[in-house]
Amino acid sequence: MKHEAVFFTAEEILKRGKADIPDELLSGKNLVYSSPATLAYNSPGAEGFGVKRAGLSVPESIMLIVAPGCCGRNTSLISSMPEYKNRFFYLEMNEPDLVTGRHLNKIPDAVKEVLSFLKDSGRKVPKAVMICITCVDALLGTDMDRVCRKAEDALTGGEFEGVKVRPCYMYALTREGRRPPMVHVRQTIYSLLEPMEKDPRSVNIIGGFAPIEDTELITYLKSSGIRNIRQISTCRTYEEFLQMASANFNIVIDPEARAAAEDMNKNLNIPYIELTRVYSTDKISSQYKALSSVAGLDIIDSEEKAEADEAVARLKEAYPDLTFNVGECTNANAFELALSLVRMGFKVDEIYATLAPENFVYVKNLAMLSPDTKIYCNMEPTMLYYKISSSKAQVTVGKDAKFYCPDIPNIAWNQDTRPFGYQGVRDLMNKVFEALKEAEA
């Protein structure tokens, strides 16, 4: 037995072609190793903004998790955060529920009891109740939309009339299906919006659950006369959230929000433009040109592009032979980031990420510039044997990369607030620079 983690070089993968990606790099072909990235990637409620936190991004909402106890167990981690205190409730399923489905009949009464509990204990009555269900109901084929309608109807005529009840599907089983949990939860959230008069000076940025704040995108929108730039995470009240329906157009910054944007286009007549988070300043520039042209905005990005390029140049000058290891537990597509770093003139020794076919294009380009870059899959069982001693990197990016390379300076780069555009490039380069300087000191 080799006791070695399996990897393939970018060149090897290119030679095999998109149709023959090794099983070891694909999801679904092997048992799944429990790495930090796996926990975030494979378990839709475990880390970051999973289904639970995402559902509660609706202001003045609470969540009732209707599931076996095991599904809600790690919610303790989230419940301890001040913004989620008194917002999670549980209706635990037992074995007879599994056979009879009677837990579904309890939901309307459970919703009422929770609302009464909040009112009686002097807390604010929520505007929306998100019902979170899990794999069991996926297999039982539960029509949760109907169950939620029934629960909402049961509130009619009573003291809680008007409170919305919506489903959140935390179906890990369907993570690679047509509507994965993180796609579906975004659709659920924005389904709460109701048609209203359009405001030509309002725009939504959708996709994230924490705000993008310091990015130039906001500046460009403001300087083009956009008065209201709404993100769900900056809406303080439910009423403010509902104002998102007045937007002239949506900017989608995460492909997982594409289906929600399609729904909003159809139901609320809000068209959308999709921007991708990339780390190549040329590509960022191209995207802004496209945005400018499609949305009729006046975007001049030369200053911000120069700042980002300068941050790259400063790092390159200080560390001309800098070598990275890049993980996927980060605010980046690991393959795109690796390719961008190589194009900046750095080296990338190792990538830890699952190679979905849509990322093959990055590996193809990477193979031409850096054929020896090794690609490991976070999920692959032999990652148990990964040894840091073989890595040539001086710095790592990603929480998972830190797990594999604990002694190398690391930038986790997995913060809730999303980096975007030139700001993302600039800040990442500066963080790397600071981490290396700190390590030297």
């Binding site: 037995m1 080799k2 399996v6 679904g28 072909k29 092997n30 048992l31 799944v32 190793y33 429990s34 796996t38 926990l39 494979n42 378990s43 839709p44 409620g45 475990a46 880390e47 076996p68 106890g69 095991c70 599904c71 809600g72 167990r73 790690n74 919610t75 303790s76 981690l77 419940s79 999670f88 409730f89 549980y90 209706l91 635990e92 399923m93 037992n94 074995e95 599994l98 309890k106 459970a110 009891e113 929770v114 509990f117 899990t134 794999c135 069991v136 996926a138 297999l139 039982l140 935390m170 179906y171 890990a172 089983l173 993570r175 299906g177 999920m379 069982p381 032999t382 148990l384 044997y385």
Partner: protein
């Protein structure tokens, strides 16, 4: 309403209990789930995961795997992993997914066993029971598979149930060698509810005591006390001379139960016990205090990882 939790978060489930018993035994542990249950175990209920790597894997089930009952695919994945990873046996741990589709664990054991040349230990958990039940099932499965009828080594003492989910940092793992020789041990000690079940399963005489709390009554306990923890923790404190009623969300065996003790399930039952019991002291995880904010007596924080997740 039964099963509705308005204050507390769910307690450690059976699959976490099973994993906790098996974690340090050198097994290839396969949790039959889509990923979320493994995330709960490794990311929350198994503090050792952050410190030492262990071969805990998710089966990585997808909807069609479950709907079509693709056990052959699961067995092939396990075979592929055992070809590349050193392990002494394979443990497969159940979750709500196999419970829903009615997985036949005996058949699964045979199927996997036909592909690998190491023992296969299935633990039939379903994520709906509590951790002590999972620990019990894991002990029983290990005993069935590995315990020698006539051990070659006579161990002085083996403690069952001193697990991380009950005792946090004070846990002590048992080894595969302990299991192998368990029928010949001179003394068996049950340190928690699952330990009692395992000892009863062996059909041997045993002592019920918590080595952590024996001769070590937590500071601050005075007067009539309600201990809300594992039953053996309560019993050990009572046996030291404290006037104790036991409340436990887990199991309460007849061998422990005395008048005033109660197995509780719902939040309201704990609230009622506190309200009606007029206790001078409550010794329980501090997170339970949120249930009885008006309680004015003495509170001793008796951490219980299975309840709060605090080590």
């Amino acid at each position: 309403m039964k099963g509705l939790r308005k204050v507390l978060t769910p307690f450690a489930p059976d699959q976490s209990g099973a994993s906790g018993v098996l974690y340090s035994m050198g097994a290839l542990i396969v949790i039959i789930d889509a990923g979320g249950c493994t995330g709960n175990v490794c990311g929350f209920d198994e503090p050792r995961w952050h410190e030492t790597r262990s071969a805990v894997f998710s089966a990585g089930l997808r909807d069609m795997d479950a709907i079509l009952g693709r056990d052959e695919l699961l067995a092939s994945k396990i075979k592929s992993a055992t070809d590349r990873i050193d392990t002494s046996f394979v443990a497969v741990i159940g979750t709500p997914v196999p419970a829903t589709i009615g997985t036949d664990y005996k058949a699964l054991k045979r199927l996997i066993g036909s592909k690998v040349d190491i023992p296969v230990v299935p633990v039939q958990t379903n994520g709906m029971k509590l951790y002590n039940e999972g620990e019990k099932e894991a002990y029983k499965a290990l005993i069935d598979e590995f315990a020698d009828a006539v051990p070659s080594v006579t161990k002085d003492q083996i403690v069952l149930g001193l697990t991380p989910l009950t005792y946090g940092k004070d846990h002590i793992d048992i080894t595969l060698d302990d299991i192998k020789n368990i029928r010949g041990a001179k003394t068996l000690i049950a340190a928690s509810s699952s330990g009692i079940d395992a000892c009863e399963y062996l059909g041997r005489d045993f002592e019920i005591v918590s080595p952590v709390f024996k001769n070590n009554i937590p500071e601050g306990i005075t007067g009539k006390t309600l201990v809300c923890h594992d039953e053996v923790v309560g019993k050990t404190i009572r046996d030291a001379g404290v006037d104790v009623d036991i409340a436990t969300f887990f199991k309460l065996h007849d061998a422990v139960k005395k008048e005033g003790d109660k197995k509780i399930t719902e939040e309201d039952e704990f609230i009622a016990m506190v309200r009606d019991g007029r206790y001078d002291t409550i010794a329980a995880d501090i997170c339970l205090k949120d249930l009885v904010p008006d309680y004015k007596g003495n509170w001793v924080d008796l951490k219980c990882f299975a309840i709060s997740g605090r080590t």
